[in-house]
């Protein structure tokens, strides 16, 4: 027998109370662990998504740039347009490697299976320029040419969802007679869900001749982004959004949402810490005589304190283990909950479970136990054996 088995047996004596305390800790640790794993996953996904754009600066019609950027990232439609003149002006700025026009539109198509109206996003693009921006684009089938008609590329995610194959045609909607000549390999970002047609075709189908929604810019030297975007700002009608801005803004917004969540968790942890301390003080109080007996048979105050501390760490460590396990099992559930609370949620999995985080959660629960157990342990170690046995005689 050692102190640990003694502590365990003591805890098992009060099963119900022990269980409830463990559960309290477990819930706090679950939330903490999920949030921390979300934190690291979120940044990773966001970076990946931004990098996937292959674009350094976006020129959009004047308006709220953040709204526009968010719309663009998710394939929303901006109700204002840029023109070919704007494109010419942008292209003329020094230091720009490539400025490519895009027209992004949304159309509704009835789903063949469910019969529901589903929004689709289509990009009118200049294929060679976009391929320069996104050199990782690979296609099953072939790419279209800029003067091709009734031809379309679709993302792999969309193709899989809609059962589209190379050579098939869209069954309905404004692109009814368009042939799918290529399916883009999976990129892991938004492109997987989009339709792509030659720019001229998009302008024709939506009757937006000469109109653009976006000019995507790639610069020669990344350090020049600020200077170039300043130049671009001088063109009337143009709103400039750099990717670093978008990233920064989203991270800021996400940051404040996260700090709010962290506050909630901190409060939850503090409450559960007081709960643990209270439970322990109660049980120390109940066991005064027992501690007195232990002192009478040779235990020192330190022994008693150690035992109480061991019991606390047992409780919190068990809570930590259960909490971490619950977080791992329920990560998808937690993810969908937290995604709803964040201003911008990337598409991929945000909860990334790393061994370091698991280690941290467990270390944290042990630390919680040590902190919570300290005071009760101190109190119990200070009980004089005499007073302890007499049960509070003054």
């Amino acid at each position: 027998m050692n102190f640990l088995t003694l502590a365990t047996k003591n805890l098992l004596r009060r099963r119900g109370r022990t269980l409830l305390t463990v559960l309290g800790v477990a819930i706090a640790i679950t939330v903490l662990f999920s949030l921390l794993s979300l934190n690291s996953g979120y940044e990773k996904e966001l970076n990946k998504e931004m990098g996937g754009l292959g674009v350094h600066i976006l020129a959009v019609p004047k308006g709220c740039p953040y709204e526009a950027a968010s719309l663009i990232l998710h394939g929303g439609v901006i109700p204002k347009y840029l023109t070919a003149t704007d494109l010419k002006n942008v292209s003329g700025i020094d230091g720009i490697e490539l400025a490519t026009p895009m027209l992004m539109q949304q159309f509704i198509r009835q789903d063949a299976k469910t019969g529901k109206d589903v929004p689709h996003v289509v990009f009118g693009i200049k294929i060679d320029e976009v391929r320069e921006l996104k050199p990782w684009w690979k296609v099953q089938g072939r790419f279209f040419t800029d003067n091709g008609t009734n031809v379309m590329l679709v993302g792999r995610g969309l193709a899989d969802k809609e059962n589209l194959t190379v050579g098939s045609m869209l069954p309905a909607g404004p692109f009814k007679n368009f042939t799918i000549i290529g399916i883009l390999d999976r990129t892991g970002d938004q492109d997987d869900q989009f339709h792509f047609v030659p720019l001229a075709e998009a302008q024709r189908v939506f009757n937006k001749q000469g109109m653009l929604t976006t000019i995507a810019v790639k610069v020669k030297d990344l350090t020049q982004i600020e200077k170039i975007s300043e130049e671009m700002e001088k063109i009337p009608d143009i709103q400039v959004v750099t990717m670093t801005q978008i990233m920064g803004t989203i991270m800021n917004l996400a940051g404040s949402a996260r700090s709010l969540l962290l506050t909630v968790i901190a409060i939850a942890l503090i409450i559960s810490a007081f709960g643990i301390i209270n439970t322990l003080l109660m049980s120390v109080n109940e066991r005064t005589r027992e501690f007195g007996m232990m002192k009478a048979i040779g235990a020192s105050g330190l022994d008693i304190g150690k035992m109480v501390l061991a019991e606390t760490v047992f409780i919190t460590l068990a809570g930590g283990l259960i909490g971490t396990a619950a977080a791992i099992v329920g990560s998808s559930l937690i993810e969908s909950f937290v995604k709803g609370m964040l201003p911008y949620a990337p598409r991929g999995t945000m909860v990334s479970l790393s061994p370091e985080l698991i280690g941290f959660a467990l270390a944290f629960s042990v630390a919680l136990g040590l902190i919570c157990g300290l005071y009760p342990a101190f109190i119990s170690s200070r009980l004089s054996p005499m007073e302890a046995i007499r049960g509070g005689f003054e």
Binding site: N10, G298, S384
Partner: protein, 241 residues
């Protein structure tokens, strides 16, 4: 007076609110090695206070106490723990067994605190000594009162103390069981152990070698029972009222 317990001028004063309680008033008390001593006295006479001071569970307000040649007054709690651990085994009226530990584990408990190796044979030996050789794996809840007290006595014995201090060890037991526990004490005494037993039970108290009577924090009587066996001492019976 020279012995394993030498107490001189022991004074113990408690405060309860504004009231001062003089639990012990200048008590001189000595026990020789191998002696079997009982202490009787009415409730509130200071029996338990004396026992607690003797066992270093409580410090006297003044006076001196030598245990096995060691002056205990003025020792720090940490040093008192060691004196207690090495010299004294305690037996309580309420047994104070750990309900989740088996008889064997309860007996083993002091070894955990004294950092001594747990020797299985030693525990078997103690179980044998207290007559529980076949009950070692039972939990306290599965034992009778007498058996529980035997476990408690075993626990007091495991560290091989010089002295056993027992506070009303038979207070929760019926008379037949009480008698059996006393037989056990006498047997331990025959093996050389020093025993000091506080009790209400005059009949049992008179089975010791010496019987002290305590009243109002003072020793008012001492009988050498081995010399006066069979002689009825009337004044003791009113002390037991």
């Amino acid at each position: 007076m020279s012995g394993i317990i030498e107490a001189r001028n022991l004074v113990k004063t408690y405060r309860r609110g504004r009231e001062e309680i003089h639990a012990l008033k200048n008590v001189d008390f000595g026990v020789d090695e191998g002696e079997f001593v009982s202490i009787i006295g009415p409730s509130g006479s200071g029996k338990t206070a004396l026992l607690n001071v003797l066992g270093c569970l409580d410090t006297p307000s003044s006076g001196s106490l030598r245990l096995n040649g060691i002056e205990t007054c003025g020792l720090k709690e940490r040093e008192l723990v060691k004196v207690r651990r090495d010299n004294i085994g305690f037996v309580f009226q309420q047994f104070y067994l750990m309900p989740t530990l088996t008889a064997r584990e309860n007996i083993e408990l002091p070894l955990l605190f004294s950092r001594k190796d747990c020797n299985k044979n030693r525990i078997d030996e103690v179980l044998q000594m207290v007559g529980l050789a076949d009950r070692g794996d039972h939990l306290p809840g599965q034992l009778s009162g007498g058996e529980m007290q035997r476990v408690a006595i075993g626990r007091a014995l495991i560290n091989d103390p010089k002295i056993i201090l027992a506070d009303e060890p038979t207070g929760n037991l019926d008379s037949a069981t009480s008698q059996m526990i006393f037989e056990l004490f006498r047997e331990l005494n025959r093996k050389g152990l020093t025993l000091v037993i506080v009790t209400h039970n005059l009949e049992l108290a008179r089975q010791a070698q010496k019987m002290y009577t305590l009243r109002d924090g003072q020793i008012v009587g001492c009988e050498d029972l081995e010399c006066v066996v069979g002689v009825e001492v009337r004044k003791m019976s009113d002390a037991n009222s």
